[in-house]
């Protein structure tokens, strides 16, 4: 045996690997999302399930098409990134939105938000949030119609065939309503964020209104009007904490985003409780939790360094509070995240970790500085 043939091409060290892979990471994120989503699907019944499946299928189909057009191997589909984009997008939709909102939106997000940039890892903006903002601006009515929870198997829940009609034929909810027993006056309503905005606009004291009407425990557990996979702050928190524990995401973005949102809300409600709801309302409604743990933490579109992440999260939190308080839309997670996405390259350029043997500015460490650092 004079010369040995290597089975694999010659490569530099290391010749070992921790066995992590992109598909496994994506899978873990999906796993972490599933309790909250499963609960949402249960809560909003067959229409939500159909919308969810259609959106995911559309995501995979779009990804396959784009890979094909780009001449890339279809195995890339297995990395799960498109599935995750579809999932996240679906989770932020009103649970009974028509099918084309789901399918069209995710196709737009993947094509414009990801593949036009050059595919996975190249995009500047979070594709799911880009899709979300695009449909919100284009179809505000469909995107702001929220049904009350009607858990699978409950009296009011539409059956599978009704659900098909609702999602595909855009059947009027009223048709379904007529079947409802008397006493239920509305199947749909504004989201809680929207309602609080209306209340403020009408000059109601928001503090009192919340104290009287807002079901905090239900909002935390998830039995509340809201998007398909966003209602249960608790289950999202569980999934998010598990992701941190599993080292899929780091704590920096969720902590700084939720921390900043709470801080702003606390200060504002402390000084003007008539106009501003407090932190608990902010944290348990809308996409705050989902955004902090699953959307803002998107690897591709958030900074790489720990300090950069803290800054990014804090920026998201601040913008979120600003948009919710003064913007024209009741919810602002998508806008806040997209705005910070745009700043990410800048953050990454200027905020780097301190290198060993150097100061934060990149200068050679002096012996005297060192004692302060260590």
């Amino acid at each position: 045996m004079n010369s040995i043939t290597h089975e694999l091409p010659l490569r530099a060290a290391p010749h070992a690997h921790d066995r992590s892979s992109v598909d496994r990471i994506m899978l873990k994120v999906c796993l972490a999302l599933s309790p909250a989503t499963a609960y949402g699907l249960y809560l909003f019944g067959w229409p939500a399930i159909i919308l969810f499946v259609v959106t995911l299928l559309a995501a995979v189909a779009t990804e396959a098409l784009c890979l094909r057009l780009a001449g890339l191997p279809l195995q890339r589909l297995l990395d799960g990134s498109a599935l995750l984009t579809g999932w996240l997008y679906a989770a932020t939709l009103p649970p009974w939105a028509p099918w084309w909102i789901g399918a069209g939106g995710v196709a737009f997000g993947l094509i414009v938000g990801k593949h036009l940039y050059g595919g996975i890892g190249q995009n500047l903006f979070n594709p799911a949030m880009l899709a979300r903002v695009a449909v919100l601006i284009s179809f505000p009515v469909q995107l702001t119609t929220w049904v009350n929870p009607m858990p699978l198997g409950s009296e009011l829940a539409p059956g599978f065939v009704d659900a098909l009609a609702i999602i595909f034929a855009n059947a009027d909810y009223a048709a379904h309503l007529s079947a409802a027993p008397s006493g239920v006056d509305a199947m749909t309503g504004a989201s809680w964020l929207g309602a609080s905005k209306v209340a403020v606009g009408a000059g109601t004291d928001v503090g009192q209104w919340l104290a009287a009407d807002f079901p905090l425990t239900a909002a935390f557990s998830g039995h509340i009007r809201g998007s398909l996979g966003e209602t249960s702050a608790l289950l999202i928190l569980v999934g998010g904490l598990w992701l941190i524990w599993a080292r899929v995401i780091s704590w920096h973005i969720p902590a700084s985003m939720l921390g900043m949102l709470s801080l702003c809300a606390w200060l504002a409600s402390h000084f003007n409780g008539h106009l501003f709801p407090g932190p608990l309302f902010q944290l348990t409604t809308g996409a705050a939790m989902l955004g902090a743990f699953f959307i803002a933490t998107d690897y591709v579109t958030s900074p790489a360094s720990a300090t950069g992440k803290l800054l990014f999260g804090a920026g998201c939190g601040l913008l979120l509070f600003t948009i919710r308080s003064w913007g024209s839309f009741p919810e602002g997670v998508a806008f806040a995240v997209l705005f910070m996405n745009a700043l990410t390259p800048l953050i990454d350029r200027f905020i780097k970790p301190r290198a060993y043997g150097r100061t934060l500015g990149g200068k050679t460490l002096k012996h005297s500085d060192m004692r302060k650092i260590v």
């Binding site: 040995i4 694999l8 060290a13 010749h15 996975i120 780091s250 790489a304 060993y356």
Partner: protein, 524 residues
């Protein structure tokens, strides 16, 4: 705050926890007295720096321990005959480096007698002057055996020029599979401790610490016992955490200090030597034995009997594998060194050299190589980097040949430890990019140096011409000046004469002449 910090927390930044896989070899004793191979291929360069000059010719008979290559150049190390025999040739052989580039080697046919050259009993090293000891280390051809292969004597002499607070003897051995330092510490603890004391004497360090990772309890116990016998040598247990064995990281763990970028550890009063180097230095100073062999770990799923063996330098790797029962199946990777930083071997013919800490024949499962996919910016590499760099950006820029940007994200500080690539879920060969970029930068620097050198030559020539011109002009001017001076002198003499004549009438008019002198003094 102001007192120098002497103790670290044992922590390093980033890093990874690769599967150790040391069990296969850590409990088996070192196999010594291997059967001699039919040929030894002893390279004249087994160290960082210049080749040693060969002192023998084909046909010469050599004895074990005889000097066959003399250190030459500023950084170099001596080479000795590992056994007795006949020099067959001095020619280029393939070296244990992935490039497979050849280097000159003395090829020796062993005579089987393994007859030593006569070594006079050396005087007690503890009674000798540190400089004398450093020279003896130099004569023995000792180099850094942890992988740096930097001539040990040079490092010791550098250490003597600084005030060294802490001497660290590196027994951390953080690379998976490798157990050579582990076994050495278990079996030759007294020698290592004595070596440590000798190094400490040479560099006059205040403190000597032997640092061992906590995954080697037997080695810790053995070294602790040996250190207790003599006292004043500390044993520090550091966590098993790759790359703890890298000098910069170990210094951080043991002392809490960081080596400033671009400086040496000497600058912060720290010197690091490997345990195997301490052993080699002890052998050289106590017994006068030159460095002829080393303990190397032979392991990996494709090795029939993984174990540590003490191998003569120049032994072909094929022979080493044969001693260990041969290879089972075709290895996916054949390496010299550990899996994290080791290098792919171009063939089985390459010899064991002073820096060979291990030879590994890894299976496909152990390597776990995959084709790479695009970076998903997960920042796992950033978290894993012990140097606090941004590997993803370094790689992206290196790939696009934007070397300056790559530098900005830390390329110049990268120690090529491979932690980043180890955790990259996209299997991006990050280190390969860094090696490439570092190579390009070195080329760029050397071509710049060349340019500067050429420019220097041109400038020098210009300057010379200019000077010649000036000299000519000066000569001409001088001539003219001389002529003028002559005229002036003549005139002056005439004037003086007149003045002298006048002086007899007006003595105060001579005061003009000192002012004249002043002007002349200012001119040059």
């Amino acid at each position: 705050m102001f007192a120098p910090r002497l103790f670290g927390s044992g922590k390093i930044r980033g890093g990874v926890h690769p599967d150790g896989r040391k069990d296969a070899t850590s409990d088996r004793p070192i196999l010594t007295n291997l059967p001699l191979p039919s040929r030894l291929y002893v390279p004249l360069n087994q160290h960082s720096g210049d080749d040693a000059l060969p002192l023998v010719r084909p046909g010469d008979r050599v004895l074990k321990g005889q000097l066959i290559g003399k250190a030459s150049g500023r950084v170099s190390a001596s080479i000795h005959a590992p056994t007795s025999g006949t020099v067959l040739a001095i020619e280029a052989v393939t070296m244990p480096h992935p490039s497979g580039l050849p280097a000159m080697a003395v090829i020796i046919e062993p005579d089987g007698d393994d007859r030593w050259i006569e070594i006079p009993t050396p005087p007690d090293p503890f009674s000798l002057d540190p400089d004398v000891l450093a020279s003896k280390v130099e004569e023995a051809g000792v180099v850094g055996m942890g992988g740096a292969i930097f001539p040990a004597a040079i490092k010791l002499r550098q250490g003597r020029r600084f005030e060294i607070q802490t001497l660290i003897i590196n027994g951390s051995e953080c690379e998976p599979f490798l157990t050579t330092d582990d076994r050495l510490m278990q079996e030759r603890a007294d020698e290592i401790v004595e070596g440590t004391r000798l190094i400490r004497k040479i560099i006059e360090a205040y403190r000597a610490v032997i640092a061992i990772e906590d995954n080697k309890p037997a080695a810790i116990a053995a070294i602790q016992a040996a250190a207790n016998k003599v006292g004043a040598i500390e044993v520090m247990v550091v966590p098993a955490h790759y790359p703890m064995g890298s000098a910069k990281q170990l210094i951080q763990a043991v002392t809490g200090l960081e080596v400033p970028a671009g400086k040496r550890s000497n600058d912060i009063g720290v010197l690091v030597h490997n345990v195997a180097t301490a052993w080699a230095i002890q052998q050289a100073l106590v017994y006068g034995k030159p460095l002829l062999s080393r303990v190397t770990t032979v392991a990996g799923a494709c090795v029939a009997q993984p174990q540590n063996v003490e191998v003569l330098f120049g032994t072909p790797i094929e022979h080493v594998f044969k001693v260990c029962g041969g290879l089972t199946g075709v290895p996916a990777r054949l390496l010299m060194g550990g899996p994290m930083m080791g290098q792919i071997l171009p063939s089985l013919d390459v010899p064991i050299i002073k820096g060979s800490s291990g030879v590994l024949a890894l299976s496909k499962a152990e390597v776990n190589a995959h084709t790479s996919s695009p970076c998903i910016r997960c920042a796992r590499c950033v978290d894993a980097c012990p140097m606090g760099l941004v590997p993803l950006e370094m790689a992206r820029n290196s790939r696009a040949d934007k070397l300056d940007a790559a530098q900005e994200f830390g390329l110049r500080d990268c120690i090529l430890c491979g932690s980043c690539a180890y955790v990259c879920p996209s299997h991006i060969p990050l280190v390969q990019y860094f090696e490439y970029a570092k190579g390009e930068l070195a080329d760029r620097r050397s071509s710049q140096q060349k340019q500067e050198y050429t420019k220097g030559l041109i400038d020098a020539r210009k300057e010379r011409l200019e000077q010649e011109r000036l000299a000519k002009e000066a000569a001409k001017a001088a001539k003219e000046a001389a002529k003028a001076a002559k005229d002036a002198a003549r005139a002056a003499a005439k004037a003086e004469k007149e003045a002298a004549q006048a002086k007899t009438q007006h003595p105060e008019s001579t005061t003009t002449s000192p002012a004249d002198n002043c002007v002349r003094e200012e001119q040059p």
